[in-house]
Amino acid sequence: MPERAHILLCAGAACISAGEESFKSALERELKEAGIYDEVKIIETGCFGTCDLGPVMAIYPEGTFYVKLKPQDAKEIVNEHLLKGRIVERLLVKEPEQKQALPTINDLPFFKNQVRIALRNVGFIDPLNIEEYIARDGYSALAKVLTQMSPEDVISEVKKSGLRGRGGAGFPTGLKWELGRKASGTEKYVVCNADEGDPGAFMDRSIMEGDPHSVIEGMLIGGYAIGAKKGFVYIRAEYPLAIKRLTSALEQARNYGLLGDNILGTDFSFDIEIRIGAGAFVCGEETALIASIEGKRGMPRPRPPFPVNSGLWGKPTVINNVETWANIPPIIINGADWFASYGTEKSKGTKVFALAGKINMTGLIEVPMGITLREVVYNIGGGIPNGKKFKAVQIGGPAGGCIPAEYLDTPIDYESITALGAIMGSGGLIVMDEDNCMVDVAKFFLSFTQDESCGKCVPCRVGTKRMLEILDKITKGEGTEEDLVELEQLAYTVRNTSLCGLGKGAPNPVLTTLKYFRDEYLAHIRDKKCPAKVCTALIHYEVIREECRKCSICFRNCPVGAIYKDEDGTYVIDQSKCTKCGICFQVCPFKAIKKE
C-alpha cells in the first residue's frame, strides 16, 4: 500500500518525560479507528532539539511540525491532517512577536541557523534500527577506512580536519590518535567518555539516544587508526535510556558483522563493551574514569603519564568524548577540507550546545564555531522569556564562567571564550536573566563542585569549602569586604594548586562573577540587599492586605504554618516563623503576596 505519511515522533528523554508514550498510543488508536494505520509509518526518533516544546513530531512529506502534543490532539491530527490534508494550526509553533504560525520544520529559525554534523541523524532516524543509519551513509566511512585507507591516512585526515576534543579541553583529536598509534605496546584501547556530568549539558545523551551507531562507527575508525581491538563506553547510570539504546545498537552491529572478528571481511577485529558509572561527577575526568572502569574508587591521578601512554590496565588508551566520536564518520566521508570549511582558524567544524535556563527555546543545537553568543541566544534560542532582561550566560559547566551582556558579540571558539575567563567545556549554555542573583549562581556552582570533590587533594577539598562558607556569609548579608579579598585569593590558590580539572576549574564561576558582577557582591555586603531578590536571608514575603481575597490557599500550603488569619479574615505571614520558601508567593492565585 502507498504510504500516506511518514511521521517522525521524538522519543528523546525530554519528550518522553513530557508524555510522548501516551500520545503515541493515542495516535495509533486513532489511526486504527480511521482505518489508515497501515498507510502511516510512525518512526520514533531521538531528540529534535526543541525539547521545551515536547512532545514534538514532524509529518512528512511536508515536514509539518507539531508541538506540545497531548493524547487528546491525536484525533484531530488524524482527521484533519492525515485524512483531509488540512494543517492543525493550533499545534504549530508560533513566532513570539509575529504570532504567526510556522507550518514546517524548515520555517523555524531554530533549525534554519544550524549546521548539523554530529547531530546529522539525531531526530531523523529510528535509533533502534541499524538499517536507517546505513541508509544515511552509515558505516560507509568504516568501509572506506578499512578498504582504502591506512591507519596513518586516517590519522592524517583527522589531523587535517582540525577536529578538537568536544569533552572540554579541546585537545586536537588527530594528534591524540597519533600519540596513541605511536605509543609502544600491542594491546591498546579506545574509550568513549559518556559520563556527561556538567550540569546543563545533554548533548552526549541526545547523541547516544538518537544516533548510537555514529558513536560506534567513530570508535571503530579510531580503533583501526591506533591499533586497538577493544573499546569501552563509560556511561553514567543516570542515563538509562541511552544505555538501553546503545546496548541494542551494539547488538545489531554485531549481528551485521560490524563488530567482532574480521570486520567486513578484513583482518580488523574490534568489539565494544559498555561500562556504567554510579553517580560520581569526577569520573568524567579521564584518569578517574580509567580507575572506575578498572573497578576502583574513581579518583584522578597526576598526569603524566597520560592515558595515551598508560591508560586502562597501564596500556595505551585513547579517550574521546561522545560528540568527538560522532564527528569522525562525516569527516572521513566528506573529507577534512569540508569539515575545516566550517568554523574559525583555530576552532574548526561545529559544536553542539545545550540551551538551558532563561531562554525561550531550551534544547539542543549545533552551530558552526565562531558564531556569536548573541546569535545563539537571540536568533536561534528565541531570546529571554516573559520580556525579561538578559543578564549573563554561564558557559562551560562548573569549571566555566558567567559572561555578561557586554560580551554577547564574542565569537564562540575555544580561545575567545577562554580569554573571557570561561571555558568552552562540553557545551552547556545556561542563560540567566535579571531575576537571577549572580552571587547565588556562583555559590551554587561552587557547591556542586565542592560536593563532587573526591577529596584527594587539600586545596580542592578544603579550599572550596572555605570559599563556599564565605559565599554563604555574603548571601546571608553577613559578608565583609575583607571576605571578598580572601575569596579571591583562595580562588587563585585552588585554581593553581589542585590536582585535576575539577579543582582547577572550580573557582571560575566565582572569579568571573567577581569580575563582571562585583557590584552585586557589594550590594549584598554594603547594603545588605540582594538586587535580584533571590537570597532568602535578604528578602521577606508579605501579604498585600488590599489584594488578599481570603481564599486561604497560602495558609493551607505553608509548610511551616507561618500564615495565620487576623481579625478581619485577611491572611498574615508571621515573619518569625516564615522560612522564606516562597511557596505562598507561588500559589497565591491573586498575586496578593509580595517579595521584597
Partner: protein, 153 residues
C-alpha cells in the same frame, strides 16, 4: 526475581566488573540497597577483601548501604534546575512526604534524595523516580506522580 548467585554468575569473575555487579545486586533488592550479605558475596565472588568492596560502594553516590524506599525519588539540584525553582520543589516534597532528604517514608514507599544534573535541563526542574525521568515539574505534577506511584501498589 533472580537469586544472588544467578546475578553473580552472569558476570565474569573479574574485579573490573565490581560496579556492574553492585548495580545488579542493588537493582534486585526491592528496597534499593546493598545488604551486608551482598557486599560479602560480591567480595567472595571476585576474591577481594570485603573492605575493598565496601570502599568502592561507598565512593559512588548511587549505591546505598541502608534500606531505601521502593521508589527512590532523586530531585535534581544542579544549577539549571535551581535557577527555575528546584528549591521550592524540595520543600514541597519534604512537606508532602513528611521526610527530609536522605530519609525514607515509614511505609517504605519513598526515599527522597538529591542528584546532580539528569541531563534533561531543557525541561527543568526535573527528577527521576527509579529509572523514570519527570520534567517541567510543578506542585500539581508532583501530586499526580506521587498518587500514581501510591496507586501502583
Amino acid at each position: 526475581m533472580k537469586t544472588k548467585e544467578e546475578i553473580l554468575k552472569s558476570f565474569p569473575k573479574n574485579p573490573d566488573y565490581i560496579i556492574e555487579i553492585l548495580h545488579a545486586l542493588q537493582d534486585n533488592n526491592p528496597y534499593n540497597y546493598l545488604t551486608p550479605e551482598d557486599i560479602k558475596l560480591c567480595a567472595e565472588y571476585l576474591d577481594l577483601p570485603v573492605s575493598y568492596v565496601e570502599g568502592v560502594a561507598s565512593f559512588y553516590s548511587m549505591f546505598s548501604l541502608k534500606p531505601r524506599g521502593r521508589y527512590v525519588i532523586r530531585l535534581c539540584d544542579s544549577p539549571p534546575c535551581h535557577l527555575v525553582g528546584s528549591e521550592s520543589l524540595l520543600e514541597y516534597l519534604e512537606k508532602k512526604l513528611k521526610i527530609k532528604v536522605g530519609e525514607t517514608t515509614p511505609d517504605r514507599l519513598f526515599t527522597l534524595e538529591l542528584t546532580s544534573c539528569l541531563g534533561v535541563c531543557a525541561v527543568a526542574p526535573a527528577m527521576m523516580i527509579n529509572d523514570e525521568v519527570y520534567g517541567n515539574l510543578t506542585f500539581e505534577k508532583i501530586d499526580k506522580i506521587l498518587e500514581e506511584k501510591r496507586g501502583n501498589l
